[in-house]
Subunit: 480 residues, 2 copies
């Protein structure tokens, strides 16, 4: 009971602080957000040694990978700073009418962020959800991930220094620690306006359900579960099966298979030994430590269950923490058993052997929502490739040709999301600058005198941003 | 039980048909959607006499108003046709990389539409939800509104003729009749991908809850409840209180007060007789028939409850169907009692008298989500107006200066939505061409060969649409 009351008190204080920042509006000044995002990138970089050492101790992902991830994280902050600077975040749309209507974006309110265990920087405390929410002008409350609490604390301190350096209120960014109760309490708090989450299907769904049951429901942008099917078409398999197997094996073991875009299923026609090739490649990769003992146990349990499943051939050895595994199953069996299409978090991939291209298309049509789907094809695969490219957008957020799904560029053209269960809202992305729209809502101004309009919508265009005026994009002022 | 089974069978057949259209993809050709939207507008116009007569018999809204509403509805179909034609629906965004990433929109899937009683054309069978979903390439299943079943049937037949004329499959557009069970069954069906709704808070929330509980949750875009506060500032009140009272009275009785943007609350400082002025104007407007006996009874009941409420002065007569009413309440009382801030559907407005401008700002800060908020001000009101314009975007989707909230232009800059309870998702609009994004989800193509890309993303830009290439808007082809 004492703990329970303590949780409520802590959450109440954090959310009241965040709400006060939202109402007082210091983040509505784009210059403040710009300064904050840049300062946060600098402060994180200033703590790089400490962050990387600590994250490596907590996640065992390796210093090289973590160095790269930190760079990606600060670059990401810079990308959001750029769209704050150029004004594109505002989506300014002006119709001179009558009626004179001018629409721009407004921050949705305090955002609660739940980071992921597998990316302690890029999808955690200083990650894309935090960056996009701050860029949108929303105060942020992070629940620190319990798998890397010290990393989270160092990152939060760096962002706190940035907040302070640019003269914003402390409650612009806050981080709480705790378990499920703190998380639920944050999502249920009336001052919370939206939630960003990266993690498991069970965790994301629980937060979605809590948010939907509120008296005032709020959106939950949860990036959850994906097996990222890869289709290796007959031409590609014949021409360069070896190279594809090596490339896929590298992708499967990346981050010890603990990537949300990890290729969990490889679909081929008449596998002609491709599964054995891939299995041999995977068996050659050394085992590595996984993020947590719980994740390692889950992974080994999942591999063992596949060993015990009738109709599934395990082509690699006994389950072992962080040791890549490969299994082979016929397409009929795969189509019949939804359990085989559930995500296994770790370096496992399942080869699905189809009898012919039409069965491959039937398999393609059966997948639930995915972050990515990949096609390896050659000139000989033209017809089946065209058929596949018509089916895959039905379930996937990103289609990759001739390349691995791991690696998600921070680009204005990126989409990292997909229909459920890949995410709770396939219309949203959690990577790339388009992620900002999750935390913005439009406000239209009708007939409002110029001097009372936000600068983004004033005739003179004092910020010099690109606006759509009567249907045409322009940075010109409006002369009336 | 027989009825129950019948409902399931009917819904199953409709949704399976819609899903087949989604998978077969005939609507993914923009030319087909363009032809359909234009043909639907023409067919509705061809049935105008029948539609208006029937709608008038069913809704008693009057032929002039209904004639105007039908024109608005066909114009709306034309506006969506225009954004299909110019390609802006696709939001094509290309980064030449590496990686080469190209993102465009993809239809979300079959959309179920629930129309409103108060706009039998513009927010019902042939209304904005249907138009935006078809423009997005989503097959549509409408549940006909039980308050105007014959109007709905004539409109559906007109759209059916359009579907047939342009050679699209019958299941591109379907309409079912029935009550709550059919509606729930439609929302729960696994092939339903999104829901559009306009109506009551209770109805919208029930559908939202049903959609959130699904194994695969889907978005519900429900436009529900709004009291559309109007702030008449001291300068405007002193300079032209009479004119403002007349203008507001006209707005309150428009459509017998059955508009979602009906001004239900008027906030003034030291009312100086303004409430009496407005009440006198309203008492002068003749009573008119309301949409249904149920709506009339609810309205009279709500007026009577206000008469019986301590601290509320009713300035007009006894409750009567469709007779405008005006009540006066002090700001302290209004701030204390959330019941006074609930929507009354009908020609009622409540004047809230504040003691000073700072109390007016406190009242402004207390409103829940609204479709609109309006300010009448003059040069003398500069300071309080600036304060107000900083607060109102926190709860409203559209701010109007010196004009009534009723009347919602179909414009690219329109926003018709607002935080809950105005809608289930304040980030979405149900009027204006931006409404299309509710039914689209992004798909990114990475490294896909040009000939396998959708036309919208191919180097040559064969459709000649505007695209954002490496950050710049252009219709030029990409030369590699």
């Amino acid at each position: 009971m004492g703990d329970h009351r303590q949780t409520r008190t802590t959450v109440e204080a954090a959310m009241k602080g965040a709400a006060a920042v939202h109402w007082d509006g210091p983040l509505r000044d784009p210059a403040s957000r710009l300064a904050l995002l840049r300062a946060a990138a600098n402060e994180l970089e200033a703590s790089a040694t400490d962050l990387i050492e600590t994250a490596n101790a907590e996640t065992r992902l390796g210093e090289d990978r973590l160095r790269g991830e930190l760079t990606r994280t600060t670059t990401q902050l810079g990308a959001f700073a750029a769209i704050v600077a150029d004004g594109s975040w505002a989506g300014a749309t002006i119709e001179l009418g009558p009626p004179d209507l001018r629409r721009m974006m407004w921050p949705i309110g305090p955002v609660v962020v739940f980071g992921a265990s597998n990316f302690p920087f890029a999808f955690s405390t200083p990650g894309g959800d935090t960056a996009s929410a701050l860029a949108a002008g929303c105060p942020v409350v992070v629940k620190a991930h319990p798998a890397h609490p010290r990393t989270a604390a160092i990152a939060a301190t760096a962002i706190d220094r940035a907040v302070s350096a640019v003269g914003l209120p402390t409650a612009t960014f806050q981080q709480l620690t705790g378990g499920v109760e703190v998380g639920t309490c944050l999502v249920e708090h009336p001052d919370t306006s939206a939630v960003g989450f990266t993690g498991s299907l069970a965790g994301g769904r629980a937060l979605y359900d809590a948010a939907s049951r509120r008296p005032i429901p709020i959106p939950v942008f949860a990036e959850m579960s994906s097996i990222n099917p890869v289709f290796v078409l007959p031409g590609a398999l014949a021409e360069r099966g070896d190279a594809v197997a090596r490339e896929l094996a590298d992708s499967v073991v990346l981050g010890v298979g603990q990537f949300c875009t990890n290729p969990g299923v490889v679909v081929v026609v008449d596998d002609s030994g491709f599964a054995e090739l891939l299995a041999a490649e995977l068996a050659n990769r050394p085992a590595a430590a996984m993020l947590t003992p719980g994740i390692a146990a889950s992974y080994c349990g999942a591999v063992q269950r596949l060993i015990d499943t009738v109709g599934v051939d395990v082509l690699t050895g006994a389950p072992e923490e962080g040791q890549a595994a490969c299994v082979l199953v016929g397409a009929d069996r795969f189509l019949d058993d939804p359990d085989l299409r559930a995500e296994v978090f770790g370096p496992l991939t399942m080869v699905v052997a189809c009898e012919d291209p039409s069965q491959l298309l039937r398999v393609a049509a059966r997948f639930e929502g995915q972050l990515t789907s990949t096609v390896y094809g050659s000139g000989r695969d033209r017809d089946v490739a065209a058929g596949l490219l018509g089916i895959l957008p039905m379930h996937a957020g990103r289609l990759i040709w001739d390349g691995v799904p791991t690696g998600v560029a921070v680009s204005p053209a990126m989409h990292h999301g997909g229909p459920y269960p890949a995410s709770t809202d396939g219309r949203s992305t959690s990577v790339g600058t388009a992620a900002i729209v999750r935390f913005l809502r439009p406000v239209a101004y009708q007939g409002v005198p110029d001097e009372l309009l936000p600068a983004e919508l004033q005739n003179a265009n004092p910020l010099g941003i690109e606006r759509r005026v009567n249907g045409t994009s322009t940075t010109d002022p409006i002369v009336r």
